[in-house]
Amino acid sequence: MGFFPLIAVILFVVLPALVVLWRAVRMTRTYGAFERRVRRELWGYMFVFPAYLFFVFIILIPTFGTFWLSFKVPLGQFAIEFRHGLGNYVTVMRDPNVHEAFLNNTFYLFATLIVEVLVGLIMAIILADDRRGFHFFRLLFFTPMMLSMVIVSLLWKFILRSEGGLLSHTLNAVGLSSLADTPWMAHPTFTLPTICLISGWIYAGFYLILFHAAIRRIPPSLLESARLDGCNEFQLNRHVTLPLMKDVSIVCVLICATGAFKAFDLFYVMSPSGANHTEMVATYLVKQILDYDDPYYGSTIAVLMTVVVFALSLIITAFQKRTDRLEF
């Protein structure tokens, strides 16, 4: 790392502070006194300052550090850092494991859009009313979000065990014993979809809460007038509720899509060891660091991943600007 953090601190903390102060001094000269407006601007910067510090030290500087590391390779057993130029990037582009991981991630992305966002939306519409039991159901569906990934994976391993697991036990009990022997976690074709379903089980409740909050924001007078105009429940949802939730939907898709490329812990704890067919970009990255002792190559993958996530969110936000915002 060397002097890198020092340069970054000067660039992101000292320099902006100097610019702000310089501006304040210049404005004071122009207006003659340390005037109200100057003071107000300085207050603004001061309010944002603590959060900005957290952001710079925890996220921004390490990100640039990763970029820096991605140009190096370890040299021999003493791991002397050596400038390597673009070599790591060439390797990444040719690495079949990376291709596989990106394909898996894309599959996961579309799967989670369906089992998380869509299911969450449908549940939110069904559970929209403020009836007595519904509050309990919303609470229930949110529960998996509260569990740590370690706990989730343990629970599902219990459920999916091939012998004596809860699922095969239950299937045997109801007479579907042919289904009971499905190797949910052991067979390449089943593993990825199974994990996607588990992911849906975890996060659908989260989107349910987001959509529910959006539905609650719709003024009841709109629904009232639509009902008076003779809408049935389906038309009401199709023509009133859904268009009004466009904004939230795009935020949800954004969270889901960027989250899909960040997916790590579920796959890391759930996938059988040595399995390639559930490799995600993030898990491959961490494996490079922990198992193969090559943080530089890992950093290269990280940079690539960041670029993809960034491009994805740019595309989605561009879509948001194009759709005209409905005011209500």
């Binding site: 601007e41 944002v48 603590p50 590391l69 219990f158 960040k262 660091i289 960034f310």
Partner: protein
Amino acid sequence: MVWMVISAFKPTSIEIIEHPWALPSQWTLGNFTEAWSRAGIGKTAMNSVIVTGGTLAATLGAASFAAYGLSRLVFPGRDRLYILLLLGLIMPIEAYLIPLYEQFRVVPYLGGYLNDSRLALILIYSGLGMPLAIYVLRAFMVGLPTSLDESATIDGCGPLGVFFWIILPLSRPALATIGIFTALSAWNEFLVAVLFIREPEIQPLTLGLQSFFGERNTDYHLLIAALSMIVLPMFALYALFSRQIVSGLTAGAVKE
């Protein structure tokens, strides 16, 4: 989950595996006490509480300040700064974990280095939670009517006064929402903790669990008892605040 809590009362792990749906043959509390002492849950839970509490305080404090500045005060570069802070929402944590570790490893702290401390976890969790907190709080504060702080300014309040007496009390629902999300993620976090914490004395709960995975066999009955004990406090917290969460996400709840 109910299955998990009930299974926690079963006396042996064999019973859990062979008759998963059956009720316990005898209800026993022994698992809880044994799990408690084995994982040192008293100690690790204390660590988790400290870390979660510290994270909550830092995140809510800094984020509400920033959200107020970004939503109410006018200064050049404000919107660009906001977008910069939001970048944190889409950055994957794995992408900057290594330099982050290096960065914490060189700072001396209490005779050791900063990476092996509860403070490090607090700082990192706060930094990670900050973008979402700012996003939600700002959205909420934008929805609050400006006439309120104008009248307070006329009555002689400075920006600090407006923040503490007007904006902060009104944003209580949003603060509760963010508080819940922050507490949940800090309580359950595993990756950063496993990478940073070496000292057994300061391990949080999620790491303490590892002591149940033996080399040959896992003591499922103890494990499940421990899991139940970890989940229940968060569940209680969420059940208490769940109504607040929805109203906190419903931006601009205060009407003029």
